[in-house]
Subunit: 216 residues, 2 copies
């Protein structure tokens, strides 16, 4: 291996190491409580070494998020081969939950930790492109259900339905990540609750019968 | 006011002050990252003063959680006057979301922060009593729907349905608390998404028609 390649690989490895340390610290202690110095200490590097890779904590957070969102997208690959949009929605829910359970620190950082928002993430992820943007992928699947006539006439707003579906699956996995050891609750298996949620929501969105009784 | 009463009131006020400081720190930086000394510093007291009220951080956390869960229960008072169990479920969802949005720090601590679990909470809250235990209240409302024949035959497990409903509403409010400023998403109004979720779930649980197509 040429020395320039070796340097490139070493640089990439150090970036991954910084990402892992930062992800764990941000996810467990909150973005604002963690300093670049703490991240450096965790991997036994000097803060100066980290600053040669990321100009500040915000830049590190944005690159880390972009990288983790692309990892999530790679988890969704098989979605693009599913022709039936209702089945695509179900599989999206199942794969999303699977990602959260397999990568709880990624998930905490991406969806459970307040963070600064900045359009620079768009340098890595094209907003609205279902191949790169996970929310756009979900919305496109909902849109396809609407356009192909799978949903009832009351349900025409793809953002609203996407947010309802996302909420349900996010709630399930985030309760699991935070409270699955809580002996107060007799937890049902996550996959069973997920199936119950997705079945009920799909039934509610597709039902051709009258809408249920309205509350206040 | 007698001096013993004055002392009692002063003691109660200090406890509330400690609770407020601890809740904010635990909710934003995580239970494990926060020390008793940090909590004391936040209210400009000595750590010794805090230890006269709570023997250690765990005892403080348990009393704080018990207190906040009882606050949540007081938010549910009107539930007990609603005769129709399906309407009771809807109102539970609406009041739960309302509590979370009004008291985001309480909510973060109670449902979004990993914490030590201990049966000493039962010194304050009787587990399984729907007047004190919010999960028991939800489960009892689901159980009433099942027993009064509102749900379809496939849905007989009150824990499973309670956890599905809780997940959906928790997901909605926790995404709101964490990401409502995220410009990436064109958020729909929370109440509208809540209504959509509850309508669809109630429809799914009550529907007498065939269950929707099953995924893998």
């Amino acid at each position: 291996m040429q020395s320039s390649e070796r340097r490139k690989r070493a640089k990439q490895e150090l970036r991954e190491k910084i990402f892992d340390a930062a992800r764990t610290l941000f996810a467990h202690e909150g973005y604002s409580a963690v300093t670049m110095r703490r991240i450096a200490e965790k991997i036994e590097y000097s803060a100066t070494a980290i600053y040669t890779h990321f100009k500040d904590k915000e830049a590190l957070m944005h690159e880390l998020c972009a990288s983790d969102f692309l990892t999530l997208m790679s988890h969704f690959k098989k979605i693009f081969t599913i022709a039936d949009p209702v089945e695509r929605l179900r599989q999206l829910g199942a794969l999303y939950a699977d990602f959260a359970i397999k990568h709880p620190n990624h998930y905490r950082l991406m969806f459970m930790t307040p963070r600064p928002f900045d359009s620079t993430v768009q340098a890595w992820i094209e907003k609205g492109n279902p191949q790169q943007d996970s929310y756009a992928l979900l919305k496109a699947a909902v849109q396809a259900c609407i356009e192909e006539g799978h949903f009832n006439q009351a349900h025409r707003d793809a953002d609203l339905l996407a947010q309802a579906l996302w909420s349900a699956v996010h709630g399930l996995v985030s309760l699991h990540i935070t409270l699955h050891n809580d002996p107060w609750i007799e937890w049902r298996p996550l996959k069973k609750t997920l199936r119950t949620l997705l079945d009920a929501l799909v039934c509610g969105f597709t039902s051709k019968t009258a809408r249920p009784k309205q509350g206040n």
